[in-house]
């Protein structure tokens, strides 16, 4: 499938990235009743980088995203997002911070009583109160990015699973957030639809350099070329040219955190088996 056309002027795209880390987890512990979900998780996500979270089901990948958003609180440890220590913030103070973040939920989590248009415009309508022409332009732009402009007046129940994920991506990126969190955006989808979604995420990474945490089971070896608006497979030697690192969780602990070269040369049997 060909890549969708770029909706936003490319001069805006790669803004100068601040130094430091968009997300910092420091010795984070979390348990539900007798089940230890996270046991001393620490990692950093530098600005402009995408970090893929790998791990078997139940290893705490989605929980890390919810902790970063402040939707859940850890038992102990420190989490800093865009310079704000979310573990010390009250729910009410988290709302302005969340305005700078975008989240794509595992099951899309679209508002089922709102149309696609209203779902995508939700954040802007909350800011301005009414659906005006300026919002409409941005909604169409965002939907064009995910190639779903024709679904404006449909309800989520009228869309396929893959289309719902793409609408969720459009909703997450409409305000061009500083940080994007993707929770298994390709989970349960057919290979063609998965490729489309991977392409959108890759484009967001390579064109806009948005800092992202991506829960996935796919190892990405592609790059988005803005000149041709096409995805291209990276030659082996150029894997490290893309701003992407990998974090692998096992039994609530981080067992790997590094780039593709380190991942390829790991001696750990479990990791080798996982990525094979």
């Amino acid at each position: 499938m060909s890549a969708p056309s770029l909706p936003i002027d490319q001069t805006d795209a790669v803004a100068e990235q601040p130094t430091g880390s968009a997300i910092v987890f420091e010795d984070v512990h979390l348990s539900f009743e007798d089940n230890d979900v996270l046991r001393g998780v620490s990692f950093q996500l530098p600005y402009g980088e995408t970090k893929a979270l790998f791990g078997v089901a139940g290893s705490g990948k989605s929980t890390i995203l919810k902790l970063a958003l402040g939707l859940q609180a850890p038992d102990s440890g420190k989490i800093t997002v865009l310079g704000n220590e979310v573990t010390q913030m009250h729910e009410r103070d988290l709302f302005p911070l969340r305005d700078k973040l975008g989240m794509v939920f595992q099951e899309s989590a679209l508002f089922d009583s709102l149309t696609v248009r209203e779902n995508v415009a939700y954040r802007l309508m909350e800011e301005r109160g009414v659906y005006d022409e300026a919002i409409d332009v941005r909604v169409r732009e965002s939907l064009r990015f995910v190639e779903l402009e024709h679904t404006l007046d449909l309800f989520p129940s009228e869309l396929s699973g893959g289309m719902r994920r793409r609408v969720a991506i459009a909703r997450a990126i409409i305000t061009q957030p500083e940080l994007l969190l993707y929770d298994s955006p390709t989970g349960g989808l057919d290979p063609v639809t998965s490729n489309t979604i991977v392409e959108l995420i890759t484009k967001q990474r390579d064109v806009y350099r948005t800092s992202s945490l991506l829960v996935t089971h796919r190892l990405q070896t592609h790059q988005f070329d803005p000149q041709t608006s096409q995805m291209r497979v990276l030659p082996r030697g150029q894997y490290c040219d893309v701003p992407m690192t990998f974090l692998i969780l096992r039994d609530g602990k981080v067992i790997f955190d590094g780039d593709i070269r380190q991942l390829a040369h790991t001696e750990d049997e479990y990791i080798r088996e996982y990525i094979s």
């Binding site: 939707l71 969340r98 099951e107 909350e126």
Partner: protein, 260 residues
């Protein structure tokens, strides 16, 4: 079914009361913080108020009618059949209008709120709303509470009126009483205390209906089965809460307002 220790059970109940109290307090506190979501309030007022009108009218009318039928025999025995207007009037305004309206709206709307919000919780829509920077209590709970309190007030007044009309129908058609005398008695017997009691109760009941429905919805867990359970619990809890509150409010107002 797994057996739990009494301590755990008690802790869970105390936690539930604490969570309910916080939700109820925040639903009121949010009225003083922007944004106010006025459009959502109007939409909920339409759903709750206008949507409940048919059942409230039917319930009120037939309750007034059956009240007149049931008491006519006793009143006739004492030669006081003309007092039937007074009896229907005080019963409807003080007690049956607000309570039956409250119970009917609880059955219709507490369940609706619990199932709607519960479905949003289990499909992560509430989390999505929080992730998009919106406070779900402000956006979903406060408009429902405000709309229910506001609309139940007027629904109770309508219920009182149609209840009196139901009593009039029985008095005129089955007891051959004079309609003007019925209305005159019904009107003149009411004092300020009766009206105050009849108008205070729906405000309290409206608050109970909405907060209980929203609480069970927002705390729903366990997929569609959990939503079903929350819906049932919301109706039962709201109905019992209304009846218990009714007793204590009536007792308190009788003491404070020195009813004759």
């Amino acid at each position: 079914m797994e057996l739990r220790s009494p301590t755990d059970f008690a802790k869970q109940k105390v936690l539930a009361v604490q969570e309910y109290t916080l939700l109820a307090a925040q639903s009121v506190g949010n009225l003083f913080r922007k944004p106010l979501y006025f459009a959502d309030m109007v939409q909920q007022a339409d759903l709750i108020g206008v949507g409940s009108l048919p059942i409230v009218v039917l319930t009120g009318f037939f309750t007034g009618g059956v009240l007149a039928l049931q008491t006519a025999n006793t009143l006739q025995r004492f030669g006081s059949i003309t007092l039937i207007g007074q009896l229907v009037s005080t019963s409807m305004v003080r007690e049956l209008g607000p309570v039956l309206t409250g119970l009917m709206v609880a059955g219709r709307n507490s369940s609706g709120m619990a199932s709607e919000l519960g479905s949003m919780v289990v499909t992560e829509q509430i989390d999505a709303m929080r992730a998009l920077g919106t406070d779900p209590l402000k956006k979903l709970v406060t408009p429902r509470v405000t709309a229910t309190v506001f609309m139940l007030f007027f629904l109770s007044i309508i219920s009182d009126l149609v209840g009196l009309a139901g009593g009039l129908m029985v008095a005129k058609l089955f007891l051959s009483l004079d309609a003007r005398q019925y209305w005159s008695n019904a009107w003149q017997v009411l004092v300020l205390q009766d009206v105050f009691m009849g108008l205070l109760k729906p405000v309290l009941f409206g608050f109970i209906i909405a907060t209980v429905g929203c609480y069970y919805g927002m705390t729903a867990r366990g997929g569609t089965q959990g939503v079903g359970r929350a819906t049932t619990q919301a109706v039962v809890a709201a109905s019992v809460f209304i009846l218990v509150t009714d007793f204590f409010v009536t007792k308190l107002l009788i003491s404070l307002l020195s009813f004759k």
